[in-house]
Amino acid sequence: MEIRAIPPGVIPIGREYVLTTYAPSPLHLSVALDGAGWHPAAWRTGRARADELLTPRYWVDVVTEAERGLLDLVTFEDGLSLQSARFGAPDHRTDQVRGRLDSVLIAARVAPVTRSIGLIPAVIVTHTEPFHASKAIATLDYVSTGRAGVRVRISASPHEAAYFGRRDIPDVPPPGQRDDADPALRQFLSGLFDEAADYVEVMRRLWDSWEDDAEIRDAATGRFIDRDKLHYIDFVGDYFSVRGPSITPRPPQGQPLVAALAHGSEPYRLIARAADVGFVTPHDPGQARGIVAEVRAAQDVSGRADDTIHVFADLVVFLDEDAGTAAGRKARLDELAGQEYRSDAPVFTGTPVQLADLLQEWQQAGLSGFRLRPGVIPDDLEAITRGLVPELQRRGAFRTRYEPGTLRGRLGLSRPASRYTAAGRSTA
């Protein structure tokens, strides 16, 4: 089998990456898990486990399948609200999956019974405590032995604000129906993203607040820790102040992975400032190139030019052995749903071979990986793990086994020294 192209892989954006690069198949593949799949009628298909979506067995099975496909990581969709087809507001529909579990806890429940796959739940930064989130993700890193990450999300919904009753959030119209040039709206939204960046900063400082060798158990002096190796983080920002140190020692990866989904300049800037992985939604290689360039430029401005930041493109996928079958299956789902399925991400229908072609072509636009959203679980998830992955392997474009190590290591990210050590300060 001919290898179609020299895998371009991650753009070598910094010294660190060049030093740690590993050849020759650095295409990163992940799957975004949400209920019975991303199509609103997915739950009505034959093999869907619609009445098991709140059980641990379901999530263990689904993540185990993803791990069978040697995927880099899975993400777990989450939000404070009941799912809704309306932007930022409840829809009171009864014909789609409604109700879900906290994604950090799903990830923790799955961690001890999986071995290699990365686990990325979501936290909503607008209404939660960075101190709690930091120790939760550090703990997820412990229970998964170095496979944890977190996707940060903002909440711009007055309905969600009312669940907490502690701050006012104005009604923000959906994209396309609002004037994005409106200064008040821009200021409000950029404030939410600034708060998200602060939130990540606090999580990261807390992860570093214990040096790796802080626990000494020195019987001679009676000291369990060397308290000089624990650090107050003393973060003071516009939205919160946090003193530290964390109650949880530094997690196995040092810095668990931070990710964000982005559709515009403000969130691209958040990725550039704060994240290790950005999930983006270009509809063609040209758009992908533009987004990657924007992220890289913002990265330079943020002083992170030397950091590895992955940009993964999201795609909703419906896969079958025959392209017509895939399109027909999606059309039948649309019929069941009563309308054509649309998404922020491009919707792909076709064969695993066609998808492999597309991924390799798009990869050359500077993307280092993809986050595939299976239209139907388990059908499209299995088509990824048992169809797409073997196809990419035949092309020499995807791993054939997991190497031992952490999620950071798999993504070519080194384990940084704590910023509070001499070594950490010198590289900061």
Partner: protein
């Protein structure tokens, strides 16, 4: 006539961030690695215990302005560990301490409902409150709560989460693929709550969990704490483990239930208890003495004395006499992030007691601290300890015990292997789990789903 013996409830407390836990022992393992938590949980489940219990502290303790370094320091996140433990256990209840001051009802309800789903109905919540600005420095909210408002907030916090749990009744998800009806009720999860502390409304996102809501624990010992437990809790994590003290507490709290229209078996009294096992009672006493000296090093003794004296005593010799100066009255400033310090309500009187004890028995500072801090609840052979536990439970000093091993993670192993079988032989402890939920292990009835009570109130009105 003799009544059939009460069934004993037993639980395992993951060793704490305090000096009960002996970290210097060669057998002492990690307090952070998941394998330690899995080991203790699996031992507890092998022994058919009711549940595993995790404490919590949201700021590292300090003394004299420095992070306290003599005890185990550091712990993982409660919810995350419990969810992971659900993967390596099958029946064991999973109880976590979660603070009602530095959290919001919507988020906590979401997390407990999720944990209950992910564990198949095994979640429990030990509701605690804080008011200290010290811990508040780690949170958005800061230390905003006046001390006298903390129980009021805790109670209304708890009630608010119940409204959220009860906003789903358990029959809404039909998931009928043929007809395309997923949800029977478009209004499922709707809630609205307004009081002095919370003004919230919306639609709760987690459908009803197997237990309906987590089992509720309460640990406070004050008048307000006892009343809070009588009105709202399913179990009390008490510190009254002796016969007389226990019976008094037991009668007091169970006596408060009637006014809330609750029966005595709807609130379990479960004191924390330490234990030291030996081949013989004499062996156990010898080991216990060694353990006490491990738990209270000379430095630890000075630290304890400082907490009472409220001043720097670093110049004193732990093997010498008690300090000749008196404790500093007023607010305790030497030690922060430690609940026990607040129990020293009259430091001068307590110091006088310590001095009397030292004089009477010719004890050093360290020996006094060993004597007055931390009781070892059960010391003896397996037969002795089994007998004592059973006696205390049958005599209504408790409904069982939450056992705190002093070695992590293997400190419960011998208890599971030697004491539990003796209790089982006596017919006072289960040999198999009967049900799958923690409520079932604790003998608590299933909660009504809310639909029934709606119907009842409709009938009544």
């Amino acid at each position: 006539m003799t009544r059939s013996p009460k069934q004993i409830h037993l639980a395992a407390h993951f060793p704490g961030v305090n000096n009960t836990t002996v970290w210097s022992d060669p057998g002492s393992g990690s307090h952070i690695e998941f394998s330690s938590f899995a080991h203790l949980a699996q031992t507890a489940e092998r022994a058919k215990f009711d549940f595993l219990f995790l404490a919590e502290g949201l700021r590292l303790r300090e003394q004299g302005g420095k992070i306290y370094d003599l005890d185990v320091v550091g712990r993982p996140d409660t919810f995350t560990v419990l969810a992971a433990l659900a993967a390596v256990t099958d029946r064991l209840g999973l109880a976590g301490t979660i603070n009602s001051t530095f959290n919001e009802p919507y988020e906590v309800a979401r997390q407990f409902a999720s944990l209950d789903h992910l564990s198949g109905g095994r979640a429990a919540w030990n509701v605690v409150t804080s008011w200290d600005a010290f811990t508040g420095e780690n949170f958005r909210r800061g230390g905003f709560l006046p001390q006298d408002a903390r129980y009021e907030r805790a109670k209304t916090f708890l009630r608010t989460t119940w409204e959220l749990f009860d906003s789903w009744h358990g029959d809404e998800i039909v998931a009928d693929k043929e007809s395309g009806v997923f949800l029977a009720d478009p209004g499922a999860g709707q809630f609205a709550h307004t009081d002095a502390h919370f003004d919230i409304h919306g639609q709760f996102s987690v459908p009803r969990s197997p237990q309906g809501r987590p089992v509720i624990f309460q640990a406070g010992d004050s008048e307000e704490g006892r009343e809070f437990a009588a009105s709202s809790a399913d179990a009390i994590f008490s510190r009254h483990g002796t016969l007389e003290d226990g019976q008094k507490f037991y009668a007091d709290v169970k006596g408060r239930l009637a006014k809330y229209d609750r029966s005595p078996d709807q609130l379990l009294i479960l004191p924390a208890a330490t234990f030291v096992l030996g081949d013989t009672d004499a062996d156990a006493r010898e080991i216990a003495r060694e353990v006490r000296f491990q738990q209270v090093s000379g430095q630890t003794a000075i630290m304890f004395a400082e907490q009472l004296w409220n001043r720097d005593l670093s110049g004193y010799d732990p093997d010498g006499p008690l300090p000749d100066v008196d404790p500093l009255p007023g607010e305790n400033t030497i030690s922060r992030g430690r609940a026990s310090v607040r129990m020293y309500r009259d430091p001068l009187a307590i110091a006088a007691q310590w001095r009397a004890l030292a004089a009477e028995r010719n004890l050093s500072l360290r020996e006094v601290v060993i004597e007055v801090t931390g009781r070892q609840t059960f010391v003896g052979s397996a037969a002795t300890i089994a007998g004592e536990i059973n006696h205390l439970v049958q005599a209504d000093a408790s409904d069982g015990f939450i056992l705190v091993p002093h070695i992590t993670p293997g400190g419960l192993d011998v208890f599971a292997d030697t004491v539990v079988p003796l209790l089982q032989e006596r017919g006072v402890f289960r040999t198999e789990y009967e049900g799958t939920t923690l409520r079932s292990h604790l003998g608590l009835d299933s909660l009504p789903t809310g639909r029934a009570s709606e119907r009842n109130s409709a009938v009544a009105s």
